[in-house]
C-alpha cells in the first residue's frame, strides 16, 4: 500500500508538529553516516551543502564539469515566496491555494502547504548567502507579478534568477567541499542504485572521463537529477538533462508518479529546421506587454507588417477576454496549437504565431512623451521613446531572440511556439521525500510532489530549494536515526558486485550492437512520436499507436544503434546512448499513463475530455488520485493509486473567460 505519511492534525500545523517530533541524530553519529547526493542543481547543491553543514559525510555527483552548470541555472523569471512585503494581501495560505489551484487539484495539500511555509526562509537564506536580488531605491527587495496569481510575490535577479540562486547554492556547496564535509565527483553519471536488504545503500557510476565504473556506499541516497523533458528530443532543457538516474531507481522498484504530466511553455522560439538541437524559452513576462495574433486568413503569406489590423486575429483576447494574453501556460499553449493546426500558423514552418510589441511601443511612447511634456510629439519620436522603454524592460530577451533568429523584434513581431519545458511527474515520494525504496530519496523536479498537473511560474526554484535547504535536513534524520548501528558497508559486498556487472554488461551490449543508425536519429524519432501523440493534446487512438511505435523503436534501437569509440575513454556518444535507451522506456510509460487518465487536467489534455468550448474537463470522481507506476516486466507496469484528499480547498473548474 502507498503510504504518503502525511502527518495528522490541522493543515497549518502538520510540518511544525513533524519537526517537533521527528527523530534526531546526534552530532557524533552524523559524522559516521554517509549520504550520497546525485545531481547538483538547486535541489542537489542545497541538500549536499545543508547536510554537509549538519555534519553528515556527503558525496555529491554531477555529470557536468562543475556543479555550477546544472540546468537550474537557466531559469529566468524568479522565485515565489509568501513574504507579503508588498502589503498586497499575500500569505502562506494564498501561496498554498494558488499552487493547488494552478496544479488543477492534482497535488497533495500537506506537501504544498509545507512548501508555502518554508518559502520565506528560502529568500532569507539566499540573501544571507549574498544572492544579489533586485532591489528598490530604498534598498529593500523588489517583487514582480507572475502568471496565475493576483499578488506580487516573485523575487528576481533580472532575467537570471536561476543562475544567481544556483551560484548561491554552489558556493555553499564549494565551502563544504573545502571543509572536507562533501566530496565532489564531477563528470560522473549514476548508472544504478545498489540495494541491500531492501534499502538503498549506494550507487554505481561511470567516470565519464576514463569510462571506469565506480562503486560508492551511502547509508542513504538522494536523487536530485531534474526533469525528463528531453524525452521529447526538443525541449527547453539542457542537452545533457536526462532521466537515467530516476529511471534506474524505477527499474529497481521505485514507483514513477504521474509521468504524463508535462508542461508545455507557450512562448519559445520556434523550430527553424531539422538541425534544431534544442528550443529556447522567452520569459513568460513577455506576455505582460506583447499581443499574440495570427492572420484571419488561412495561409496568408504576407509579411506581418503588411497585414492590416482588421485582418489580424488576436485569438487569446477573443477567446479569453477576462485574462487575454495572460491566461495560464497550458491554456495559451493549446490555443496556439489550435490556430496552427487549423492552418493559420505563420513563418516558413507555419508552426508559429506572432508575439507583437508594436502596440506596447506606441503605448509606452505616448506615456514617455507625456512625462517629458512633448504635447505634439511626432510619430517617429513616440516610437523611439517607446522602444527605449521596451528595451529597458525586456532588452536581454529581445537581444537573445535576434541572435537566434536574425530578426529584429523591435521592428518585426516575434514568432513563437509552445515547447516542452518542465515535467511535473517524477519519482513517487512520500511526505518525507522518500521514494518507495527505503533510504532512497528524490528532490526537486525529479520527484512528482508539489505541482499537480501544472506548475505555476516561479515555483520550480522555490520547490528545489525548499526540498534541499529546509525539508530533507529534517526528514533524513528521521530515517538515519535508525541507521546509527549500521557501519559502512564495504563495496566488495555481492550486491555492489552484481549491480556493477549488470551495468558493465549493458554497456558492452550497447557497444557490441555496431548497427547502422546513430543515437541521435533514435532520439529524434522518439521525440517525434512523443510530441505528435503525447504532447499538447492526446487521444486514446494516438496513444495506443504511440505505445506500439515506441516498442518497435526500442527493438530497433537495441539491434541497430551505432556507437563509435570505445568504453574506456571519454565517449559522449556512449553517454547519450545510455540516456536515450532509458528515455525510450520512459516514453512508453508516459503514454500508458496518459491513456489511463481519462480526463483532462492541467498540462494533460485528452481530446475526448473537453468542454463544448474546448477547455480541459476534469473528472474528480474517478481521477482525483496520483498514478504511481510499478515496473513488473518489460512493457508491463502495475498502477498504484494514491487518493488525494482535499480537506481545506474545494476543487472547482478553472475558468479564464
Amino acid at each position: 500500500m502507498l503510504n504518503s505519511k502525511i502527518p495528522s492534525g490541522p493543515l497549518d500545523s502538520k510540518w511544525k508538529n513533524y519537526k517537533s517530533t521527528c527523530k534526531l541524530v546526534n552530532p557524533a553519529n552524523k559524522r559516521k553516516l554517509e549520504v550520497i547526493v546525485v545531481g547538483t542543481g538547486l535541489a542537489g547543491a542545497s541538500a549536499a551543502a545543508s547536510l554537509g553543514e549538519l555534519g553528515y559525510k556527503v558525496k555529491a555527483f554531477c555529470f557536468q564539469d562543475s556543479p555550477r552548470r546544472a540546468h537550474s541555472i537557466a531559469a529566468q523569471g524568479g522565485i515565489n515566496a509568501a513574504k507579503n512585503y508588498q502589503n498586497d494581501g499575500d500569505s502562506v495560505y494564498r501561496l498554498f491555494y494558488d499552487t493547488i489551484k494552478g496544479g488543477d487539484y492534482r497535488a497533495r495539500e500537506g506537501n504544498v502547504h509545507r512548501l508555502a511555509e518554508v518559502s520565506g526562509n528560502i529568500i532569507d537564506h539566499c540573501v544571507a548567502q549574498g544572492v544579489p536580488f533586485a532591489r528598490e531605491y530604498g534598498g529593500l527587495l523588489s517583487n514582480r507579478s507572475f502568471g496565475g496569481t493576483q499578488v506580487q510575490r516573485t523575487f528576481y535577479a533580472a532575467g537570471q534568477t536561476g543562475q544567481q540562486l544556483l551560484i548561491g547554492a554552489y558556493q555553499s556547496l564549494e565551502r563544504q567541499i573545502s571543509l572536507g564535509n562533501v566530496e565532489m565527483f564531477n563528470r560522473h553519471e549514476m548508472l544504478d542504485v545498489v540495494i541491500i536488504d531492501g534499502k538503498a545503500r549506494g550507487i554505481i557510476c561511470r567516470n565519464l572521463v576514463t569510462g571506469e565504473l565506480e562503486r560508492h556506499f551511502g547509508h542513504s541516497v538522494l536523487l536530485c537529477t531534474g526533469g525528463y523533458g528531453n524525452v521529447f528530443y526538443l525541449s527547453t532543457n539542457a542537452m545533457g538533462s536526462n532521466v537515467t538516474a530516476a529511471w534506474k531507481a524505477h527499474k529497481k522498484g521505485a514507483y514513477f508518479a504521474n509521468p504524463c504530466f508535462t508542461q508545455i511553455h507557450p512562448t519559445c522560439i520556434p523550430v527553424s529546421g531539422d538541425h534544431q538541437s534544442k528550443l529556447t524559452l522567452m520569459s513568460e513576462s513577455l506576455r505582460n506587454d506583447g499581443r499574440i495574433w495570427v492572420p484571419k486568413n488561412q495561409g496568408d503569406n504576407r509579411k506581418p507588417n503588411e497585414i492590416p489590423e482588421e485582418e489580424r486575429d488576436y485569438y487569446l483576447e477573443r477567446r479569453y477576454p477576462a485574462f487575454g494574453n495572460l491566461v495560464p501556460r497550458d491554456v495559451a499553449s493549446r490555443a496556439a496549437k489550435e490556430r496552427c493546426d487549423a492552418g493559420y500558423g505563420v513563418g516558413s514552418s507555419k508552426q508559429a504565431v506572432y508575439l507583437d510589441y508594436a502596440a506596447a511601443i506606441q503605448r509606452y511612447g505616448k506615456i514617455e512623451a507625456g512625462k517629458k511634456g512633448l504635447v505634439h510629439a511626432d510619430a517617429a519620436t513616440i516610437t523611439a521613446l517607446g522602444k527605449e522603454v521596451v528595451k529597458e524592460k525586456y532588452g536581454n530577451l529581445f537581444d537573445m531572440y535576434e541572435k537566434i533568429t536574425g530578426e529584429n523584434p523591435y521592428e518585426i513581431p516575434m514568432r513563437i511556439y509552445p515547447a516542452v519545458h518542465y515535467t511535473m511527474g517524477g519519482l513517487w515520494v512520500d511526505y518525507e521525500l522518500m521514494t518507495s525504496i527505503p533510504g532512497l530519496y528524490c528532490l526537486g523536479e525529479a520527484n512528482f510532489s508539489d505541482h499537480g498537473a501544472n506548475r505555476l511560474g516561479a515555483s520550480a526554484l522555490m520547490q528545489g530549494l525548499a526540498d534541499g535547504y529546509f525539508v530533507i535536513p529534517y526528514t533524513i534524520g528521521n530515517y538515519l536515526s535508525d541507521e546509527i548501528r549500521t557501519s559502512a558497508i564495504a563495496t566488495d559486498h555481492p550486491a555492489f558486485a552484481e549491480a556493477e556487472s549488470k551495468v558493465r554488461d549493458r554497456i558492452h551490449m550497447l557497444m557490441n550492437i555496431k548497427g547502422t543508425k546513430t543515437v541521435e536519429s533514435f532520439h529524434k524519432r522518439l521525440g517525434k512520436i512523443m510530441w505528435d501523440k503525447c504532447g499538447m493534446a492526446r487521444n486514446a487512438e494516438g496513444l495506443k499507436q504511440a505505445i506500439k511505435e515506441i516498442q518497435q523503436l526500442k527493438q530497433e534501437f537495441w539491434s541497430d544503434v551505432k556507437i563509435p569509440g570505445s568504453i574506456n575513454e571519454m565517449n559522449p556518444e556512449l553517454d547519450k546512448a545510455n540516456r536515450v535507451a532509458d528515455f525510450i522506456e520512459l516514453g512508453e510509460l508516459m503514454c500508458i499513463d496518459a491513456l489511463n487518465r481519462e480526463e483532462s487536467c492541467g498540462g494533460h489534455f485528452r481530446e475526448e475530455f473537453q468542454t463544448e468550448e474546448g477547455e480541459a474537463l476534469r473528472n474528480d470522481d474517478q481521477f482525483m488520485y496520483v498514478s504511481a507506476w510499478e515496473l513488473k516486466n518489460e512493457h508491463e507496469w502495475t498502477l498504484h493509486r494514491e487518493d488525494l484528499n482535499y480537506e481545506v480547498v474545494k476543487p472547482s473548474q478553472r475558468s479564464y473567460k
Binding site: 564539469d65 544571507a128 548567502q129 532591489r135 527547453t236 546513430t518 575513454e569
Partner: protein
C-alpha cells in the same frame, strides 16, 4: 530572415586525451543552414563522422542558451567566436560566409588541461571558489531578508559581477592565461554586499593565492578578457580586487 546554405572548411583541434600531442584535422562542412547555431553545425558534422565510422569531435556544451558556461571553443583566434557578448552556443552560422575556413581550438592554458579534442578541465575555477568565494552562513541562520537594506547601486554592481558564467573565455583570451577577471568578479560580487563584509579580507587573500597556485598567469591590463567576456564583466573588477588585496595585505601584517 533570409536563410541560405553555405559550405565551409573546418580546421579542428583533435587530441585523444591529455597525454596525446594533438593535431589539426580538416573537415568539410557542407550545406550548412545559416540558421544553425555553431554547435548545431558541429552536431551535423559529428553525425556524418559517425556514419563514416570515424570518431566524432568531443566538445563541452549543455544549456545551449548562453548561461551554463559549459561551451568553450576558440574560434578563429577568439574565444566564443566573432560576435561580442556571446557564447559559442549562441553564435549562429550567419556570422560566416560561403567558402570560409574556420579554425576551432580548445581553450589553451596550463591550468586548463585538455581532456579530449575541444574539452578542457576547468576544475581550477571550482578550487578558486573553494578558497573563499562564498559567505560562511549555514542554512537556518538567516535573519529576515529585508532586515538589511542594500543601496540599489551597490546591489546592481554586485549583480553585474555575479553574472559571470565561469566559462573561462577570459583565461583563454589572455596572453598570460590569467584568471584575474574570473576571480575578481567573485571578489567584487561579495565585497560589494554587507553579507560579504566579515570575510572580505581573508577571501581575497585566499582566492588570489589559490589562483596563483593553479598556475594562472599575472594580469598586465591588456583588457583582452573584458573584450571577449560573454557577460561583459568589467575589467574594473580587477582594479577593485587589486585594491581589496592591497588593503587586506596591509591589514594582515598588523
Amino acid at each position: 530572415m533570409e536563410h541560405k546554405n553555405i559550405n565551409l572548411k573546418l580546421k579542428v583541434w583533435r587530441q585523444k586525451n591529455s597525454n596525446d600531442n594533438g593535431t589539426f584535422e580538416t573537415y568539410d562542412a557542407k550545406n550548412i543552414s545559416t540558421e544553425m547555431s555553431f554547435l548545431e553545425m558541429f552536431d551535423v558534422l559529428n553525425e556524418d563522422l559517425i556514419k563514416e565510422g570515424k570518431d566524432p569531435i568531443a566538445f563541452d556544451h549543455d544549456c545551449r542558451e548562453g548561461i551554463c558556461g559549459m561551451c568553450s571553443m576558440y574560434i578563429d583566434g577568439r574565444p566564443h567566436g566573432p560576435w561580442t557578448a556571446n557564447t559559442t552556443c549562441q553564435l549562429h552560422m550567419r556570422a560566416f560566409n560561403e567558402g570560409d575556413t574556420v579554425v576551432v581550438e580548445p581553450w589553451r592554458a596550463k591550468a586548463f588541461p585538455v581532456i579530449k579534442d575541444l574539452m578542457v578541465d576547468r576544475s581550477a575555477f571550482d578550487r578558486i571558489i573553494q578558497a573563499g568565494g562564498y559567505v560562511s552562513v549555514n542554512t537556518g541562520n538567516a535573519v529576515d531578508g529585508n532586515s538589511l537594506p542594500i543601496e540599489k547601486d551597490k546591489a546592481d554592481a554586485s549583480f553585474a559581477a555575479a553574472m559571470c558564467i565561469g566559462c573561462g573565455a577570459c583565461v583563454a583570451a589572455c596572453k598570460n592565461s590569467s584568471a584575474m577577471l574570473f576571480t575578481s568578479a567573485k571578489v567584487s560580487h561579495l565585497a560589494l554586499l554587507p553579507q560579504g563584509e566579515p570575510e572580505r579580507q581573508t577571501r581575497v587573500l585566499n582566492m588570489v593565492a589559490q589562483m596563483d597556485k593553479e598556475g594562472f598567469g599575472a594580469c598586465t591590463n591588456t583588457g583582452a578578457c573584458e573584450a571577449v567576456c560573454p557577460k561583459e564583466i568589467s575589467i574594473s573588477n580587477i582594479a577593485r580586487m587589486n585594491s581589496e588585496y592591497l588593503s587586506a595585505s596591509l591589514n594582515s601584517e598588523k
